[in-house]
């Protein structure tokens, strides 16, 4: 079957490996045909998982990472097609709570955070060592002097959407996610915003995977960076890239 399809003019869809936080925005774009036809296959997971899979030869054409470190790591191992990398998006880190909670937190006052968590409550974040959202969260908490208030009260999830889910379900009173996540989830509300200076700049680099550089991939890249796509990204809570 795979043999006669290209002859019939059918092109195999491209595959985009994208950080979990991009799901609502990319699904939206693909559904409206903004990413070309046929719509690309979209694979979402933590950037760390995706990077490892690409390292092991996973069949991705384009990779959008939620941080530069994982893209740098892949570039170091020569996994990405030269000259195809650029910064696609930026994001903001926010503190969220379940919609039904009316907790107030002032990030400059650690005791408000402690009180909001209470005796048993946990702060839901993504794994700080490996998931970009978790790393940014850890950086912010340290920079703002809040780490000591929450150490021992963290609940760390596999990726940022799982961390978001815990807050959305009311299992955790607070969580740290991207603003794009907070906007996509009606069951949470933003309680506070982490200043951009408190963490490494949140950059979503995009690049083509080595061996998958083609006219089709480059077209896909252009579609992602087009102003039409950027409008959609903005609507989903993303920012323009910091630089």
């Amino acid at each position: 079957m795979a043999l006669w399809l290209p002859l019939a003019g059918w092109t195999a869809p491209l595959t985009i490996f994208a950080a979990a936080s991009l799901k609502p925005a990319l699904d939206d774009l693909a559904a409206h045909g903004a990413l070309g036809k046929p719509a690309p296959r979209l694979v979402y997971a933590a950037s760390s998982s995706l990077a490892r899979q690409i390292e092991q030869g996973a069949p991705a054409d384009v990779f959008i990472s939620a941080d530069e470190d994982w893209m740098d790591d892949l570039a170091k191992h020569g996994e990405m097609a030269a000259g195809t990398r650029s910064d696609l998006l930026g994001n903001t880190l926010v503190l969220v709570a379940p919609k039904t909670s009316n907790v107030q937190v002032d990030l400059s006052q650690p005791q408000t955070l402690r009180r909001a968590l209470g005796m048993v409550g946990r702060l839901s974040i993504a794994l700080p060592q490996s998931v970009p959202a978790g790393r940014y969260a850890s950086q912010s908490l340290h920079a703002l002097g809040l780490w000591d208030s929450v150490t021992g009260k963290l609940a760390m999830s596999r990726d940022v959407r799982a961390a978001l889910e815990l807050v959305a379900r009311g299992e955790c009173p607070l969580g740290i996610v991207y603003r794009s996540d907070a906007i996509s989830e009606p069951r949470v509300r933003v309680v506070a915003t982490f200043p951009a200076a408190s963490h490494q700049p949140i950059v979503y680099p995009v690049a083509i995977v080595r061996g998958h550089d083609s006219a089709a991939s480059r077209a896909l890249l252009r579609a992602l960076k087009s102003s039409k796509a950027q409008v959609v990204f903005r609507r989903h809570g993303f920012d323009t890239p910091p630089r």
Binding site: A46, S48, S49, R52, D69, W70, D73, V120, R122, S124, L127, Q129, S130, V131, L154, A155, M156, S157, R158, A162, A163, L166, R169, G170, E171
Partner: protein
């Protein structure tokens, strides 16, 4: 048991001057870091508790399936297989839905001051649920291998169902039982997907060895630590297999010569 391991973990967190810490000082730099040791101890505790707690209900289910005919038997068999068929993450979310702070049962447990959500007990529950089908299948096979004629003979001698089970069926199916328990322990020890989805990763509480291993794998440069933990997991598997084999050899060695 909770006390022993909590004490062990606390001892590790204290300075090396105390008794417990000093014995780790010798091998710790050579083998595992403090975090990794905590993950290992937690995994052993979680897996042991999960297996022990799963045993009574699994035995009851296995006995029922092996010896009784009843309406809805295929339904029970299918329900028991669900944790095997469903993706572990789905099972994790189901557990979260039911036993989380907001869950139907979780709410009741919280009121009774029994903590499951985000606690090692929750990790044990996840591990137990995932190991349960394996345990039932193994135990059922073991019970079915017991000659029903012997159970009939016991009945004619006046034994009730309990005596037949504990006096005849159980001792004669011990081989399969021990193998089943070893299998369940291994599954519980290696449990990852449902655990991290249900109780997330909390060092010292829910961050079991598989989760710690996963975290290391996901960290750039964490491969060597991941490899160390993998070896530890292999050693645990070997020890449990050996223990099972020793247990099974015991009764035969004790046979009385005429």
């Amino acid at each position: 048991m909770d006390g022993i391991f909590v004490a062990g973990r606390r001892a590790l967190k204290q300075n090396d001057d105390n008794r417990f810490g000093s014995c780790f000082r010798i091998y710790r730099p050579m083998i595992l870091s403090q975090d990794e040791t905590i993950a290992l101890l937690l995994s052993l505790q979680v897996a042991a508790v999960a297996t022990v707690c799963a045993l009574p209900p699994a035995t009851a289910c296995a006995w029922l399936l092996a010896r009784r005919r009843f309406l809805g038997k295929p339904l029970l068999e299918t329900a028991l297989l669900l944790p095997l068929i469903l993706p572990p993450v789905v099972t994790g979310y189901v557990l979260l839905e039911v036993f989380g702070h907001r869950g139907a049962i979780g709410r009741v447990l919280d009121a009774l001051h029994i903590s499951i959500a985000f606690r090692w007990t929750g990790a044990a529950l996840a591990a137990g649920v995932m190991a349960f089908p394996l345990l039932v299948v193994a135990l059922r096979t073991a019970f079915e291998s017991v000659d029903r004629k012997l159970e009939q003979a016991a009945a004619t001698l006046g034994a009730n169902a309990w005596r037949i089970f504990f006096g005849i069926a159980l001792p004669l199916s011990l081989r399969g039982l021990v193998a089943g328990v070893a299998l369940a322990f291994a599954r519980a020890f290696g449990e990852f997907g449902a655990t991290i989805t249900f109780v997330s990763s909390i060092p010292g509480e829910t961050r079991t060895l598989p989760i710690a291993l996963y975290e290391l794998l996901e960290t750039p440069g964490g491969e060597s630590g991941a490899l160390r933990l993998t070896w530890i997991a292999v050693i645990v598997a070997l020890i449990s297999t050996l223990a099972a084999a020793l247990l099974l050899r015991g009764p035969r060695a004790r046979e009385v010569e005429p």
